[in-house]
Symmetry: C2
Subunit: 165 residues, 2 copies
Amino acid sequence: EDAEIRGIACNRDETRIMITAVPDIPGIAAKLLAPLITNGIHVDTIVQNIAAADSTDLTFTVSRLDALKAVEILRTTVENIGGGEILLDNTIAKISLIGVGVRTHTDIAARMFQILADLNVNILLIAASTMRISVIVKEEAVEIALPALHKAFGLDAAVSSADNL
Amino acid sequence: EDAEIRGIACNRDETRIMITAVPDIPGIAAKLLAPLITNGIHVDTIVQNIAAADSTDLTFTVSRLDALKAVEILRTTVENIGGGEILLDNTIAKISLIGVGVRTHTDIAARMFQILADLNVNILLIAASTMRISVIVKEEAVEIALPALHKAFGLDAAVSSADNL
Ligand SMILES: C[C@@H](O)[C@H](N)C(=O)O
Ligand SMILES: C[C@@H](O)[C@H](N)C(=O)O
């Protein structure tokens, strides 16, 4: 029986940094990301939801080694743009279903969310689009979530999971 | 000169639906998505940022034809889970850079955001992870943003853009 997705990636070396209340005007995302680039910090996932009013939150993940440096760099920028707080969480992990087809995408996302729900795992963040469904969960949830997801999607854990796919 | 990414996908047939103030507890994402699936609605992008307190917002995109049906279906669920409002915007478009390598991911995201900033295009939503950087912008911005992005990333617009990659 074919696997429905190409694999599951799990990244346990992640710190989630959220900058709250960033002005929702052109140029802000660029201003926040640029200094991280010039300082050689690799940013993995970036999520920003729709602003309800004039501001929104911007979240991204970096490796745990880079986290404090990233926060230091961000402090100046956040002050300049008139953002809110910089909130850090290094007790998280990212799980991504990869190689998800366009046609099965919605169904697979729903099933992933249900599996996590059944395990009482709280989904802290979602970034899902064609090809890839990523969620952030507490790192201790990985132990039960990962095997359940491998099983549900017909994957051999040894073959298909990778620490940074 | 090789293109730095595989292509740029632009989807102009999108409605953004945001459910505000959904409880940040296990099972909520699953409850919201499931009825859409059973009703045959294809959900494209799903974004949920970190909850600042006990609740967060959940956004997803559907085709414009499905939008009103999706909202109808969601009303019941949102009431059951104790969520907030269902906010709709059908004046948006999604632009995705696809086939972005892990190593160049951060740099490419920063450049994409800068290009949009230079064009004074407001980024309404971001869902970026390895392989794919997606943003939502006002649909009228596509006209200036898409050619600029193709040019910046060394792509031939005719060859590499697709309405639903
Ligand atoms: C919040 C941030 O994404 C802003 N809207 C921008 O375009 O840069
Ligand atoms: C908000 C929603 O994602 C919730 N945390 C859940 O796990 O379902």
